[in-house]
């Protein structure tokens, strides 16, 4: 990630992302994904740059960012932990898992742990419904997660960083 000390993405990097993608048909989502994968979120500074490049109003760009659950406007934790709340996972005890995760990490959905390592999120279906409950940690998906195995996964994240 190219960030300065204030956790902001370098504006030349931002402009080059926008320039590379702006001519795609329907370029806005690809641009937002690219910025988020670079910076970890969509910084406010990027909105006017995107708006100018795509000939949109800033309100339109903001409207799109705020519509989609994936796009974040503030920095998130180093790791994203998502717990599936959809029906198949509920049938296998995800409500209890969700309560346990919130307790264990001392956060609510959408929040980041005090040490900045983990952002906990709700997700609705990871496509692993025959082996529920499912948890996604960054890009890896875990099945049949119970409370002890959840704790193990979290310990593994923390050890990986320690």
């Amino acid at each position: 990630m190219v960030k300065d000390n204030n956790n902001n993405i370098d504006s030349t990097v931002l402009k080059s992302i926008v320039d590379q993608l702006k001519d795609l048909p329907g370029a806005l989502l690809p641009i937002l994904h690219a910025i988020q994968s670079e910076a970890g979120y969509i910084p406010d500074d990027s909105v006017p740059i995107i708006a100018t490049a795509l000939n949109l109003s800033r309100a339109e760009v903001h409207g799109v960012i705020s519509f989609y659950h994936d796009f974040k406007t503030v920095p998130t934790g180093a790791h994203r932990v998502q717990i599936c709340r959809a029906e198949a996972c509920q049938s296998m005890g995800s409500r209890q898992l969700e309560a346990h995760a919130k307790r264990a990490l001392a956060v609510e959905f959408g929040d980041t742990t005090a040490d900045g390592r983990i952002t906990l999120e709700a997700v609705y279906c990871l496509g692993n419904c025959a082996c529920s409950p499912s948890v996604r940690i960054d890009d890896s998906i875990h099945g049949r997660v119970d409370q002890p195995s959840f704790d193990q996964l979290i310990a593994y994240i923390e050890a990986g960083e320690g």
């Binding site: 806005l28 994936d70 959809a86 509920q90 025959a130 082996c131 099945g143």
Partner: protein, 518 residues
């Protein structure tokens, strides 16, 4: 040299397939055996994942579910008597769960490396495209119409009619959009296909392009599927290099380009018009129809929007012919259905069968009851907008019309099983809550009604003026059903009403009605 297979599939990986692969390669080194490891797709027998397959004189045999610790013991058994190993499953194609299926779309799933084009072509891949290149636009559309293929994404609209409309709409540019925003809980067939057999989807989309005269296709994939994303991009690049995409496909002079676009975590974008808005770079807000997307779709141009499995099935239709495809199924539900057995189930997985099997047969014969071992209480079919079905309805055959007749929805064939610990008032409330979270906001009954629905159910459960609040809830369901543009608001009523109708006792748990308390 012995060839081993361990799937690279989201579910197999979620259950530790990578660790098994690592253990196998380590053990291979130690025992100085020459091991070739193929990372195949999954067969969809998810309760057996990670499933290890081995090529032998008897054919491909399997072990599962395998963990890393089992590897050395399995390797030992191979040189003596594999069938003596407790995880031995026999010859893969003879495993009853698989052998009893009628696999057309999923026939190749799990047979080899999903990215091997040679493997795909060796297993009759690109035969459908080859045939499509020999005939006219109209003849391709005729084949699809005659096959009786209906949209597999849930709405079950006849694919041939949609294609005909796009073919008949003159335009300088037309599009094929593949809806791979498989957001419904209890569904994973699209994902499985994209991860196990991505070329089939690419072929189907290309055939659709040839049929209607479109030169550009998009796969709108949900961001919750990172593995499918990476596999599809690699497969598209390989197909292009091999002349199956791009200009002059296989020397035919025809052009078709394909690109994957990622969604951003919005359930509503599985609705076709919201999906088109999203692809255009806008908020995923539902459009009023008409105009139909087939007439004015992506960037206001004629567009075929079909689900992953619909487009994949087109390969079978063009390869084997409409008549062969139509032989499967019953009534107006022709071909095969990818049944996805999920939730609290002992043997969950992908079951491809001709339409007409009963729900009970699937859940009891294939599924073998619940994972928890407790009795089944409710089954939700067709995703979060499908009805909860009580035992009295489990003999309904899996057929679009038969489900509609009992006010349920077959949809895409996703089945979520709940045991007797489920509280159906909680599930009804969740249905409303999910609608409130995921509503695009366009229609007031959906946007506001879902929020009110959560509150009304809370009052019912708390026994505040229960009888009147139940009347209010039913009235709200009607308002949402008749006052919303799309299925999100329109069908949230189905699970809620079915919970009220068939599981009324769950709304009465806090004692007798105390009307007027609030």
């Amino acid at each position: 040299m012995t060839v081993f297979y361990i799937p690279q599939d989201t579910t197999a990986l979620a259950l530790g397939a990578d660790k098994v692969a690592e253990a196998l390669l380590d053990a291979g080194g130690e025992q100085d055996q020459s091991i070739e490891l193929v990372r195949n797709g999954s067969r969809g027998l998810f309760w057996l994942e990670p499933m290890l397959e081995v090529d032998t004189d008897r054919g491909r045999i399997a072990f599962g579910p395998v963990s890393a610790q089992d590897i050395s013991c399995i390797l030992d058994s191979l040189s003596t008597d594999p069938s003596s190993h407790p995880l031995y499953l026999g010859v893969v194609d003879e495993i009853p769960y698989l052998a009893s299926q009628q696999r057309l779309t999923f026939a190749r799933a799990g047979r080899g490396d999903p990215l091997s084009l040679e493997n795909y072509i060796g297993l009759n891949g690109y035969q459908g495209l080859h045939n499509a290149l020999q005939i006219t636009h109209q003849q391709i559309v005729d084949q699809v119409r005659e096959s009786g293929l209906r949209g597999r994404g849930g709405a079950a609209f006849p694919a041939g009619i949609k294609w005909q409309t796009v073919l008949d709409s003159p335009s300088d540019q037309k599009y094929i959009v593949c809806n791979a925003d498989e957001g419904d809980s209890g569904t994973f067939a699209d994902r499985l296909l994209m991860e196990a057999d991505p070329y089939q989807l690419i072929e189907g989309i290309t055939i659709a392009g040839l049929a209607v005269g479109a030169t550009q296709g998009y796969i709108y994939l949900r961001s919750e599927y990172p593995l499918a994303h990476s596999l599809l991009n690699k497969a598209i690049a390989k197909a292009r290099r091999a002349g199956y995409l791009g200009a002059d496909i296989q020397g035919s002079g025809k052009t078709f380009n394909l690109e994957v676009r990622l969604g951003a975590g919005a359930y509503i974008c599985g609705e076709e018009t919201a999906l088109l808005e999203s692809l255009e770079g806008k908020r995923g807000v539902v459009r009023a129809k008409p105009p139909l997307p087939a007439v004015e779709g992506l960037f206001r141009k004629p567009t075929v929007v079909n689900n992953v499995l619909t487009l994949a099935a087109v390969c079978t239709v063009l390869e084997q012919g409409a008549e062969a495809y139509k032989e499967f199924g019953t009534g107006n539900s022709r071909g095969t259905l990818a049944i996805q057995l999920a939730g609290n189930i002992k043997r969950g997985g992908l079951i491809e069968l001709a339409f007409g099997t009963t729900l009970r047969e699937v859940v009891e014969d294939y599924g073998q009851g619940t994972y928890s071992g407790r009795p089944i209480r409710a089954i939700q079919v067709g995703g979060p907008l499908g009805a909860f079905m009580p035992e009295s309805q489990w003999d309904t055959p899996l057929d679009y019309e038969a489900f509609t007749a009992v006010e349920a929805m077959l949809g895409h064939g996703g089945i979520v099983v709940f045991d007797d610990t489920v509280d159906m008032s909680e599930q009804a409330q969740f249905s409303m809550q999910f609608c409130a979270i995921e509503s695009c906001g366009k229609c007031t009954p959906c946007r506001i009604g879902a929020v009110r629905g959560v509150e009304v159910i809370e009052r019912i459960v708390a026994n505040q003026d229960r009888d009147n609040n139940i009347i209010l809830l039913r009235d709200l369901c009607d308002t949402m059903e008749y006052g919303s543009l799309c299925a999100m608001g329109g069908m949230t009523a189905y699970p809620v009403r079915s919970a009220l109708d068939h599981f009324a006792e769950d709304f009465q748990r806090s004692g007798p009605d105390k009307a007027g308390d609030n």
